[in-house]
Point group: C2
Chain length 328, copies 2
């Protein structure tokens, strides 16, 4: 049912909400030309922007509440990968019409995620056009403690959180390219549509991890970014990877694990002395953290960015294609 309400009414109706307690330092929220924030002394702001396009990042039939959650979650994941705590977000959206049911459901999912992670919506823009959602998220962290991509050192441990690859399998299932057993399908589709940004993990990794990235393009591709920026190579042991899920073609499941994006798990490196702390962190957060390999100095055998994958006995294994590149 097309709506006759105005852009301003839509904003007032669905996107002006009470400030969650976690966000302080907001001087001026939505409704003016800009938002104003005053960060605390000695703190830094981390800022990220991500765009989700219908047909590219989500299927047209995606449930709007889940899309609202995910639109914010993928941005909070970028903050998590820096070790920053979510503070403020801006939302720009292009929509084909003013369908209020869709917008109300989207807003609900969006604010559920904002509430869960303590982020406050402080501004935005709405317009008419092909469905496209663009979020800018700003997080705060103590000065100098950001988890950058370029901080890894040779002989660091390499870790991945959670169960990477499930989201890619969920997408293939929704697209009817594969058929998964019901319980696995549900888990994979949830991983795709309602990813959990690893905000708490990122925060706890401050002072512990030497580098971190969130896996949006695929584990190998995103680990590659850490390696390139840090001037290192890597050796991975597939025997230390999470188990592949039963009920799915193992070759496909392996490709999803190594190359599938959209899970928003964190891949990070830590110095040897931190290994026990990371293991304890996994228990504290009730989140599996898999030590899948280690970094090595770049050289003739392995240039910077190169990844060697071996089985439990060190026998080299072939790599699948390296993740997903929108313009590749």
């Amino acid at each position: 049912m097309p709506s006759a309400v105005s852009e301003f009414e839509l904003i007032a109706r669905y996107f002006v909400r009470a400030t969650p307690a976690a966000a302080s330092g907001t001087i001026l929220g939505p409704g003016d030309d800009c938002a104003l924030i005053a960060p605390s002394p000695g703190r830094e702001l981390a800022i990220t922007t991500d765009m989700l396009v219908e047909g590219t990042h989500f299927l047209p039939a995606t449930d709007p509440a889940q899309l609202g959650w995910k639109t914010l979650a993928v941005n909070l994941s970028d903050l998590a990968a820096m070790g920053a705590e979510p503070k403020w977000v801006l939302l720009a959206g292009s929509l084909p019409n003013g369908d209020e049911n869709w917008i109300a459901a989207f807003a609900d999912g969006f604010f559920k995620c904002a509430q869960r992670y303590g982020a406050e919506l402080i501004g935005g823009d709405t317009t008419r056009g092909p469905r496209n959602l663009c979020v800018t998220a700003i997080g705060e962290l103590p000065a100098g403690q950001a988890l950058r991509r370029d901080g890894a050192q040779a002989d660091d441990d390499i870790w991945i959180s959670g169960q990477p690859g499930l989201a890619a399998l969920g997408l293939a299932h929704l697209q009817a390219k594969i058929e998964l057993p019901e319980a696995l399908a549900k888990r994979c589709v949830t991983a795709l549509q309602r990813p959990l940004p690893r905000v708490e993990l990122g925060r706890k990794l401050r002072g512990l991890a030497s580098a971190a990235i969130d896996v949006s393009d695929g584990l190998l591709a995103d680990l590659g970014h850490i390696l390139e920026r840090s001037g290192l190579a890597a050796r991975l042991n597939e025997g230390q990877f999470p188990l592949l899920p039963a009920g799915c073609d193992p070759k496909l499941a392996r490709e999803a694990q190594l190359g599938g994006g959209d899970d928003y798990e964190l891949c990070f490196t830590t110095p040897l002395f931190a290994r026990q702390q990371v293991v304890m962190l996994a228990a504290e957060l009730d989140l599996p953290l898999w030590r899948i390999g280690y970094t090595v100095a770049a050289g003739e055998a392995q240039p910077a960015g190169d990844i060697l994958l071996g089985d439990a006995d060190g026998k080299p294994l072939p790599l699948p294609k390296k993740g997903f590149d929108h313009f590749g």
Copy 2:
């Protein structure tokens, strides 16, 4: 010609540039999960996001360099309307293909504008989809000095900068709805495609203006926002408005002046004692500033947000429709 280069190569090739001298306080720019900025003590950050959609905000045939300029300029205009100095910007773009010529020209226009106003690109996102450009801009200003919409008082002067309405005429000309004489057409199309954000004016209005807004929806509509937020009404004198351009149907030109957006002029209010300072500011900036009316307390005759327009003798004039609303 479609391109085979990757998203990462496109970013590296066209969007990693040397920092302009004006932007300091950047700890980490593009290439990581987030950008990091450290604002100066006692300063506030102003943040805004705006999305430009092909077909809604710009014609498909728009010159990419001009589009690059405008995409940034409309965001800097929001900073100008707060009195903030541009510092950092993020750009998210959805593009139908990796056409490098288009991207290179767009980047040139974008960075020309960034250079001109001292803004630094610190992050972004590129993806495939219908052409859509979303910028987030962050500006800085001394704490407590922002030009908000809700600060106008009764009996304040109401001002508009420049020549509002030209952009709307330029669009109508490009769409062949009207035909303008060549020189006027050129001026109007330039106003549409290469708007000049009033950054310097906004900065100088700090401590002088009681409220300000940039005119993107139309003069009456945007003045209406100031009035609603400030709980006031207004009386305008059309005899004090800028002259309408010769060579154009006067009725159309008047509608464009009162209701046309996209010029990104500033509409602002000042207390009576500041009138002489504003007149001197116009001379200093070499920018016409028109005192078009004054605010009045809201009451039975005029509720908050109401605008009465009269001619030079105070005779009431009819109002054209109130600007442009994407979902109206």
